[in-house]
Amino acid sequence: MKRLLDLAAGLYALVAYGFIYLPIAVLVLFSFQASRFPLPPFTGPSLRWYGEVLGDSKFTGAMLNSVVVGFVSSAAAVLLGFLAAYGCARMKGRFGSAVRALLIAPLSVSYLIIGMGLVVLFNWTGIPKSLLAVGIGHVVINLPLCFAILYSQMSDNIIRLEQAARDLGAREWQVLALVVAPVLWPALLASFVLSLTLSWDEFLIAFLLTRFETTLPVEIWTLLRSGLNPKANAIGSLVFGISILMVVLAELAIFGKGRKKS
């Protein structure tokens, strides 16, 4: 009986993991397809489609755009989130919680609504559809997340370190740059990498706010509109690989630091 249960549990786990990972496995597998369609039978392995992608300036350009938008918007979101968290940690009472709630609330608004709002707003203020517009959009969606992560790290311990720094004559910017930021370094890095990952993957806002120059997810979508293509698999695999790399880096940044301390 027990063996039967164990078998069932094992089977269930297999199905569950299959459900999650099979689509990615299929995507990656058929990116190595040698023939023109990413459908069985598998004819590879071949690097033909990776070659095509990396030789196509449309894709490498879009990839570069994604990287630039990701780095700049994430840096802005982390900086703004850090300053907001630093300020909010000093605000007590009802006003403070209202400010915090207003900063975190956008996390629950869908990207579609935020994207539509930005289209209307940019149209009205005359900011053209561009990478700059997407970057601003990505700051809007990532700022609440960075704020939430960094605010959770603003412990009493940090407030005492600040007191000590001020007691010893540090000016406000020195407190921030020499004490608070270095102590919060793992959290700053984690929120930066998380923002970068989300920006790298983000389609809706990028789709709504770009026209000629665009980011990689929008380029993939354009490609998929003309039907299945192993080229899309190759790009998808590249995007997936880079995302995984960023997550691993974030893990190392956060937990690697924790291990060293203990």
């Binding site: 001020r166 010893l168 004559g169 020195q174 270095p182």
Partner: protein
């Protein structure tokens, strides 16, 4: 008599509706080791925060080194603080921690490294210059925090329960070192604690605080043996309190009536009226009072317990008063025995509130 390094005048502080300091006034002399002793909620930490500039008092003035510092931020004050959890910068080396204040004040690198090394040597940690705080023990971190505060050459050094995080043995050892370092640098220290043994060992001036007021202040020995408030008589260790009445003060001699009879004490500041006599258990002696001693009458031993370093006895007097004694271990005394009690008048406190 030199001018005080700190003058506190009519200082009050309230958090919302709650008043935590009531009209406090105090002078601290240069080089004095002041200890604020009191239970939590007595206002001692609030007073320290006001001295350090982390809190602005609701009313009153604070003068440090002759300057009005009441509303001056911590950075501008000639004070530095050793925080309870040390608040060392975890990402900096010990040397960088100690040199931080000098760096903020624009001292050149070579000079601040020299000064930091010198101050670390003063606290016995010169070899830890390049280590990180997390590589040090609790006692060593405490010393780094002290060095970081001392290197600024403050007029007044504030210590917020600096030994609170250490275990007992280490606490007693650090307490001796703290006192030695204070005498060497000659800076006035204000030290907050709730440990009475620590307070008595360190203080030149002991302030006992309760509910936002200083209820007793002075030399620790005087505060211990002749407390001037009921709170300081009972907060610090065991004490026997006996109701009494001062019936006459003639010259410097007060005549006090108690349940044991009338006795005469040399207390020029006494005034007629209700009073309480206090005697510490270790100052109560067995035997009939001969000349110059104060008799506490006869009684029966109700309890005699061996306590390791002393023998604790409880005597119920014929006047129905329970008196606790700390006796030498080899003193033969057993339950039911009849004894007479007396004490030296120098060890008898006279409380009048």
């Amino acid at each position: 008599m030199s001018a005080p390094v700190v003058s506190i005048r009519n200082l009050s502080h309230a958090f919302g509706q709650l008043t935590v300091l009531h009209e406090l006034s105090l002078d601290i002399k240069p080089g004095e080791y002041v200890v604020l002793l009191g239970p939590s909620g007595s206002g001692k930490t609030t007073l320290l925060s006001i001295l350090g500039g982390f809190l602005e008092p609701s009313a009153g003035r604070v003068l440090i080194d002759g300057r009005d510092c009441t509303r001056m931020p911590p950075a501008k004050r000639p004070t530095t603080t050793v925080f309870q959890d040390y608040a060392l910068f975890p990402h900096m080396s010990v040397g960088a921690n100690v040199a931080f204040g000098l760096r903020m004040n624009g001292i050149a690198k070579a000079e601040r490294v020299d000064l930091a090394r010198g101050t670390l040597a003063l606290v016995g940690l010169e070899q830890a210059f390049d280590k990180k705080p997390h590589q040090l023990s609790g006692g060593q971190r405490q010393r780094v925090a002290l060095a970081r505060a001392l290197v600024m050459k403050p007029k007044l050094l504030l210590l917020d329960e600096p030994l609170g995080a250490l275990d007992l043995g280490l606490r007693r050892q650090m307490q001796d070192e703290l006192k030695a370092i204070q005498k060497r640098v000659g800076t006035a220290f204000v030290h907050v604690t709730h440990d009475q043994e620590e307070a008595m060992a360190l203080a030149d001036l002991l302030l006992v605080m309760q509910d936002g007021r200083i209820v007793d202040q002075g030399d620790p020995e005087r505060v211990y043996t002749q407390p001037s408030s009921r709170f300081s008589a009972t907060f610090m260790g065991e004490n026997t309190l006996v109701d009494a009445e001062v019936v006459e003060v003639a010259g410097s001699t007060a005549t006090v009536r108690t349940a044991f009879g009338t006795l005469k004490l040399d207390r020029p500041q006494a005034r007629p009226g209700k009073a309480v006599l206090t005697v510490r258990p270790e100052n109560m002696r067995l035997g009939t009072a001969h000349s110059g001693k104060v008799s506490f009458g006869d009684g029966t031993v109700a309890e005699s317990v061996f306590q390791g370093s002393y023998r604790k006895a409880v005597v119920r007097t014929d006047s129905r008063q329970e008196i606790v004694l700390k006796l030498a271990v080899d003193q033969p005394i057993s339950k039911g025995e009849r004894v007479a009690l007396h004490a030296d008048p120098r060890h008898v406190g006279l409380l009048q509130e």
